[in-house]
């Protein structure tokens, strides 16, 4: 168990280092933060002073090591734009994002999984076809298109809900639905195929053959097995709670982490971008770890196998 956790943690650490490095390379090579933040017509001396102040005049690889050393000491740097700690800037935005992504996750799970199960149980029926058609529509339409469509219908045409901003709970409804529908569609399709696979297994026939009523076969025998692959997708969704709303937050001008990321990238505000990426990588990695542990809980075959008894009387 300890060995297992150890190797998982090591892999997680390597993932995070790679993400941070990647962000550093891309952001530093794609534009000069000093020029962008100071403006194109700033005097060269001011730009140089800015560079010196932020250490941008040193060789790139030294900047990289400085940056890394700071992270290891828990210092994620300050925003080049207003000088505040990057981590504080990001932390301020997290509640707003969670206010969208948590209800959206509830929609994904609460709508997607039952829809997938229902479709599988009524395979090839009208219900199955209807659910799958909606699911295909749900995840082929990009979230910005869906978001704009919803705005058009519910904000512009019907005038029931606001089109953007963050003044009341009513502002959150459209972005939550936009986020939830796509994920629910993915989950529905996935649950359906996992369920169909399980329903075709010999042990389902065994359960029926021993007189287990069909409802109990589905709940007691099929679902626990179908849950194993489904957990992967849900885990992925949990992992994207922090940063899964970039597009939707932009469409609805919702002041969450995603919007902050977009603005920070545009400004080449290195510390903020990296802080967000680090956060994203860590949530992803943590949720993956949880998924792995859940696997062991759900599937006894993955637990440490005891020595097969020789079975000699």
């Amino acid at each position: 168990m300890i060995r297992f956790l150890g190797s998982r943690l090591l892999r997680a650490a390597i993932t995070i280092v790679m993400v941070v490095t990647f962000a550093f390379v891309v952001l530093r090579l794609s534009g000069d933060p000093a020029q962008i933040i100071m403006g194109a017509d700033a005097p060269p001396e001011a730009v140089d002073a800015f560079r010196a102040a932020w250490g941008l005049d040193r060789p790139v690889w030294i900047q990289y090591f400085h940056y890394f050393g700071a992270i290891l000491q828990g210092d994620l740097g300050r925003s080049m734009r207003d000088g505040r700690d990057a981590i504080v800037l990001v932390a301020e935005r997290i509640p707003a994002t969670l206010a969208l992504t948590l209800p959206a996750l509830a929609i994904k799970v609460g709508l997607g999984i039952p829809a997938g199960i229902t479709a599988a149980l009524h395979r090839n029926s009208f219900i199955d076809r209807a659910v799958m058609m909606l699911a295909v529509a749900g995840f082929t339409v990009p979230s910005f298109v869906l978001g704009l469509l919803l705005v058009l219908v519910f904000a512009v045409q019907l005038g029931w809900l606001p089109s953007g901003g963050q003044d009341s709970w009513r502002h959150a409804i459209l972005p939550i639905i936009t986020l939830g529908i796509g994920g629910a569609a993915v989950l529905a399709r996935f649950t359906r195929s996992a369920m169909l696979e399980v329903l075709g297994q010999p042990y389902i026939r065994t359960a029926s053959a021993k007189g287990v009523p069909w409802r109990a076969v589905v709940w007691g025998h099929a679902l626990p097995n179908a849950a194993i692959p489904t957990v992967t997708i849900v885990g992925f969704m949990v992992g994207s709670l922090i940063a899964g709303a970039v597009v939707v937050e932009s469409v609805f001008s919702w002041p969450g982490v995603g919007r902050l990321l977009v603005v920070a990238v545009a400004n080449r505000d290195l510390a903020v971008v990296q802080c967000i990426l680090l956060l994203v990588a860590m949530t992803m990695v943590t949720s993956n770890l949880i998924v792995d542990l859940l696997y062991g809980l759900l599937d006894p075959r993955l637990r440490n196998q005891p020595k097969r008894a020789a079975g000699i009387a």
Partner: protein
């Protein structure tokens, strides 16, 4: 003697293609009947159909009665009491026939709860007794094992324990030893014989292996392309096989002694369901085919006590033989 289970003109088709083309079969209480045939002959489908275990796209017609009670088209609740309670079934691949995420003890206890209303400690004690009965060593500890922790032979014993939990009057064993090693096959067959002796339940043993059936059954039915082509008491079937297909099966089995000769293989292969001949389905592979064989599907002809064959030539030949004998 009235039959425990009676199948009458049982027919099954999948997507319009016939898999079972009229099965008539009686199983008496306590009897051991072997069902032999090659893959696709319908020997498993027969019993899955009788118990309503086929997928929804299967069309089942005819009749399957358990002591006069019709099983086909019965309410699910009624059928659930029959399955496992009066007719139990075990399958070919024990490893995948057990639910991988449920401890084996609980899988037995589930059947005990459904059919004998046992719960908690009583169910657990009975499950342990069943494990002992089917020869699972260290039964008390094994109740908490997972299927993947057991060998194929042990898993098949668990399947048998589940089947016994409802005290069935009939156990249908569908190729119970095919996935197992030779020495384990011998263990399971011996166990099935012992259990039948001790409990008095009837046994239907489905197998592709004439030898397996010969060892454990009183009566054998040979199936070909969705029909029973010959049935007889086991000794008689091996002594006087009548249908050319039965004779072909016996001839294709390599002998254990005597000079080694070329095997009398049956040429060709089983007709596909969409290209079923109008007459006898075996005619295209039959060495004794005559034009009359292609006219109509031959009826089962009574040859001797309990011996029937569905071959037009069987009649003439055997009636003649019996006349001469008389």
């Amino acid at each position: 003697m009235s039959a425990l289970v009676s199948l009458r003109n049982l027919r099954v088709s999948f997507d319009g293609q016939a898999a079972l083309r009229g099965i008539d079969l009686d199983v008496a209480a306590g009897e051991a009947v072997g069902l032999v045939g090659e893959s696709g002959c319908g020997k498993s489908v027969t019993w899955l159909a009788a118990l309503g275990l086929l997928p929804g796209k299967a069309r089942v017609t005819g009749s399957a009665t358990l002591q006069g009670q019709e099983l086909l088209g019965t309410a699910p609740a009624t059928l659930d009491r029959v399955r496992g309670g009066r007719i139990a079934m075990i399958f070919q691949d024990p490893a995948s026939s057990l639910n991988p995420v449920i401890r084996i003890g609980r899988q037995v206890e589930e059947a005990l709860r459904l059919h004998r209303g046992m719960r908690g400690a009583a169910a657990r004690a009975e499950a342990k007794r069943l494990f002992d009965q089917v020869g699972i060593p260290d039964a008390a500890r094994r109740l908490d094992a997972w299927p993947h922790e057991l060998s194929g032979g042990q898993n098949q014993r668990v399947m048998i324990a589940i089947a016994l939990a409802g005290r069935p009057e009939l156990l249908v064993a569908d190729e119970p030893t095919t996935a197992l090693d030779v020495t384990i096959q011998a263990q399971i067959l011996t166990l099935l014989q012992d259990l039948r002796r001790d409990t008095g339940m009837a046994l239907v043993l489905i197998s592709h292996d004439l030898g397996v059936v010969a060892d454990s059954c009183d009566r054998v039915c040979v199936m070909y392309a969705g029909r029973i082509v010959e049935q007889a008491p086991v000794a008689r079937l091996f002594a006087a096989p009548t249908h050319p297909y039965t004779r072909g099966l016996l001839g294709a089995l390599p002998p254990l002694d005597g000079p080694r000769r070329r095997l009398a293989a049956i040429g060709g292969s089983v007709p596909e369901p969409w290209a079923m001949p109008r007459g006898c389905a075996f005619a295209p592979r039959c060495a004794e085919r005559s034009p009359a064989c292609d006219l109509a599907v031959p009826d089962a002809v009574h040859l001797a006590s309990g011996h029937q064959a569905a071959c037009i030539r069987a009649t003439a030949m055997d009636l003649l033989k019996e006349t001469v004998a008389a």
